[in-house]
Symmetry: D2
Subunit: 335 residues, 4 copies
Amino acid sequence: MKKIGIALLGSGRMAQVYGPKINAHPGLNLAVVFNPNLESAQAIVNQYGGKALGDLDATLANPNVDAVLIATPANTHLEYVLASAKAGKPTFCEKPLDQSLERAEQCIEVLKTYPVPFMLGFNRRFDPDIIALQKAVRSGELGQLSFLMSTSREPFPPPLSYLQSSGGYFVDATIHDIDLMCWISGERPIEVFATGSCLTDPAIGKLGDCDTAMTTLKMPSGCLVHINNSRQCSYGFDQRIEAFGEKGMLQTTNQRDENLIRWDESKTDAKAPLKHFFLERYDASFSNELDEFYQAITEARTPSCTVQDGRDALAIALACIRSHQTGVAVKLNWI
Amino acid sequence: MKKIGIALLGSGRMAQVYGPKINAHPGLNLAVVFNPNLESAQAIVNQYGGKALGDLDATLANPNVDAVLIATPANTHLEYVLASAKAGKPTFCEKPLDQSLERAEQCIEVLKTYPVPFMLGFNRRFDPDIIALQKAVRSGELGQLSFLMSTSREPFPPPLSYLQSSGGYFVDATIHDIDLMCWISGERPIEVFATGSCLTDPAIGKLGDCDTAMTTLKMPSGCLVHINNSRQCSYGFDQRIEAFGEKGMLQTTNQRDENLIRWDESKTDAKAPLKHFFLERYDASFSNELDEFYQAITEARTPSCTVQDGRDALAIALACIRSHQTGVAVKLNWI
Amino acid sequence: MKKIGIALLGSGRMAQVYGPKINAHPGLNLAVVFNPNLESAQAIVNQYGGKALGDLDATLANPNVDAVLIATPANTHLEYVLASAKAGKPTFCEKPLDQSLERAEQCIEVLKTYPVPFMLGFNRRFDPDIIALQKAVRSGELGQLSFLMSTSREPFPPPLSYLQSSGGYFVDATIHDIDLMCWISGERPIEVFATGSCLTDPAIGKLGDCDTAMTTLKMPSGCLVHINNSRQCSYGFDQRIEAFGEKGMLQTTNQRDENLIRWDESKTDAKAPLKHFFLERYDASFSNELDEFYQAITEARTPSCTVQDGRDALAIALACIRSHQTGVAVKLNWI
Amino acid sequence: MKKIGIALLGSGRMAQVYGPKINAHPGLNLAVVFNPNLESAQAIVNQYGGKALGDLDATLANPNVDAVLIATPANTHLEYVLASAKAGKPTFCEKPLDQSLERAEQCIEVLKTYPVPFMLGFNRRFDPDIIALQKAVRSGELGQLSFLMSTSREPFPPPLSYLQSSGGYFVDATIHDIDLMCWISGERPIEVFATGSCLTDPAIGKLGDCDTAMTTLKMPSGCLVHINNSRQCSYGFDQRIEAFGEKGMLQTTNQRDENLIRWDESKTDAKAPLKHFFLERYDASFSNELDEFYQAITEARTPSCTVQDGRDALAIALACIRSHQTGVAVKLNWI
């Protein structure tokens, strides 16, 4: 069977993630790597193959390009989604859709006009452990859900240059947890409260951002959601979800590169530090989301992570920012 | 050495807790059990000894009474604290001090006038595991504290009759977590946000109360505190504290009556359900707080859990109620 | 009710264990402490009360002595059991009964002639976790038992002076595991194989003893038993039992003085070192076995840990020594 | 780079394991599948490609065959090793080498005459967790090793037809643990004791075999090794190794397909049953051993798992059988 040729837009960190995974997928083929900075595109091509192009129109017109994967900086996502949709290409866009709600909603409208298969890269939905938890919760194993809690702590803060255009901690990072909490519970919050501190680097505070945050969501069913995020974590990338309901509790556990248990005069039953960061922890989820994109294209169906999901998570993350700034819980209405 | 004779005020559930523990303490002696309903007092005396009295003045004047332990319904605590203090007796009062901040503050004033040793029964501060965590945090083992999180879930809701005069979930239950979070961190919150749901019994909601609650406290250092409380928990009395800071994390674990690990065709590495409820889980802490009361009396020093601690926890719990009702984070000022 | 007056024979390490526990038991009273070295007996009396005596006949004739607890060096146990039985006193004897099988069997005969209530102090049978495991196994929860495994590792070797009269590692220490394995399974082995090494101190090897040992027992049902013992363990007193059968597995866990879980840059999910040694780990079991002795006396029944149990465990431990010396599995016949 | 063409001898269960893994390896290519029963070979070819051949000489002479992988029934291994070596092909042979020590030693001699790269498939040596444990032990992290313990329990017994030609439980299964214990400790035993029972199916006993076995090895350093094997395990494929030494302990843990932790009214902290059997548990190790074979060929070096390792493990397993039959520990001499 002919492989689906992918145009990879962007050649930065996320392109490094997707490049090898496109090649490893039996049905996908890295056809083109696009970057206005052609040298940068060429570097990815040198590693993973394909053809480097610096022109977007040429990229979309390339006969080997069947679909588009957008892994450019967040503030350019929308522009490329629109171009790809207009070119009629199935489009995969790294999260977030955009940092502006208005522009995210424009994107929804454009995709109604140019209805290509579109998938947003909330990769954590494709992690096997989180899938197992979601299925168990949605199957009713816990009965009525009371609490849904997400712990997400990164080993160290990103560079200030990254933070400056990140949209703030809630839009950059909490948005992952927000999407998961909605996806697992099957609900969108009616009330959002968030607060944050700057504890790791005063320079982050000077940007108006925080590095330590707690978010509370209230769901229509009465289920209460807690999210805690930290830009610094000494023992690795701490990722835990806890779902508590009338019949019991389900938890996902952390993952390590080494699984030995150590006992010595200072400690017992000890495990190794956690997997380093998101590339290591969510390696399988990045592969799985590419496969979902592939399956959706070949089955001519809508991929499971939609543009509406991206818009909704953004709306909630922006409400977090507003709540953090005002000290007031923000109400949300969903039609 | 002569034992310290205790007048136990009250003969309900908490009197059942303290009665046998007074007797088991080598330095304490149950001298009098007081209840205006003399029959009820007599029932405790029949079990644990002492003399049943229905008159408060006679109780405080009894020559065998050296100190007073108040285990009456919460809305009568203040009246008895005042009488005991005026009688010059070292006084131990079950939590909460009162449900009214004004009255709690009056109590502080009275105790300035009649400066007897006074101890408030925040028993969880005397749990060995929580003490170990508090010491580790305060020793600086974690560096700057980022998150302090408390999970406190009860097996089933109390009777509606109890709830009617309980002061609401935040004042009745969350106050324990609030006190611990302040005691462990050594800080009092500058901002309080709380929200709640009614998920177990609509009758609780009709009382204007909730049975499922999440509370966020922001400390002056920037440390963020999370508390989750549920009136229902299928697997027992779930009590966990997690402290996360720049250098690492510390957690307390749950306790069980049976400690076997079970493996069979449906599960592996499984443990038994948790200890049933607070009497079982905090059995040691009730003994330890009596011992702190005893030690403070014999060493003529202030017990470690003060009237101010009780007043402050109440002020925070009341702010939780206000926040829950208004959807706004409540600011707190501490002089 | 009148308390049962206990004559405590011996004033060494085990007397230090039993002295305070006799006093703490509501139905027992430390009446006499006996040691031919009267000064040593007096030291225990100074701590825990009673009357110091240096003469055995006077001890047994003392009007306050209702029962006898033998906590003398192992090689004197038998002499005192016989004297106590002849004096008609209910008798509790620390393990082992004796180091000679012939003498242990004489003891059985004497107790037939003077049938006083007799209890052997295999204290581990009275540990709550081990009781829970035994009950679960005997209830048939696991179906046919396939493996029964005991890990028992001490923090450091005893002094050579102790080892010289200990009867060897199998009789001194493995005997505890042997008794538990028989008690849990309800079987006595038909074949015994044991082997040992000397790894901690060559001086132990020069005594003809070992400090590292593995024992295999084959039970009549086909259940295979494994025991591993070490005189040295860097992380505390390691005590684990695993029972594996057709329907599943049951395990007991280790115990710690501090129960915090620690995460930092070098480790995750780590617990503290284990309880130091047997006094700390089996504290409750020593109290519980005294209570069994008390209950048996007041109920005029045979205590649950019999002289025959002591004789049988000794026979098996001696077979271990023989097997270790010859490299041959020793067959055992039980009538 | 040209891929190395593999002739896969055999088309049974193990061929099903290796077939897809050969194809998935970037440097290997399934060139020929050989089985005298050509239909059976064709079935594998239909699934994984290559060319089906029923003639051994034609197979070894096939121009696409660069190396040979022997996955035939155990009693034919030797014949094919010899033919492959004589044909000058790098040879990978599934364990065991043979069931006869004499024939295994003949094989060593033949490989001296025809010195092709030869690798024996003790796949568990290539499991990441076991590698980590081996490295830690060999680095001296534990100091002098005291105990090395292996638990290996299969979900259910193989068919009797398989058992009849398996060489017995010790040669068929314990041999894996034996090889690991030697490889981890870096020692070969000087004394072997083994015993077994038949508990799952009397028909296994009638074959003179057992389904429940315990093995003790004594190493020259004094380190004592324990192995327990069961043909039946209700909760999955139980695979645990524990290494205990003067400075501490290291353990490998079990693996599960689903990693959720479950709490409900009957259990807490519970995990799912274990991975089903060896194909699931050791999936990575089978890939890794193929890679070792590939690396050794391309680097023109001896693969890490040698014919001598296979001969030695067999000698120890045969000593287990002798010990089990005689009840005597068997001494082994290594030159």
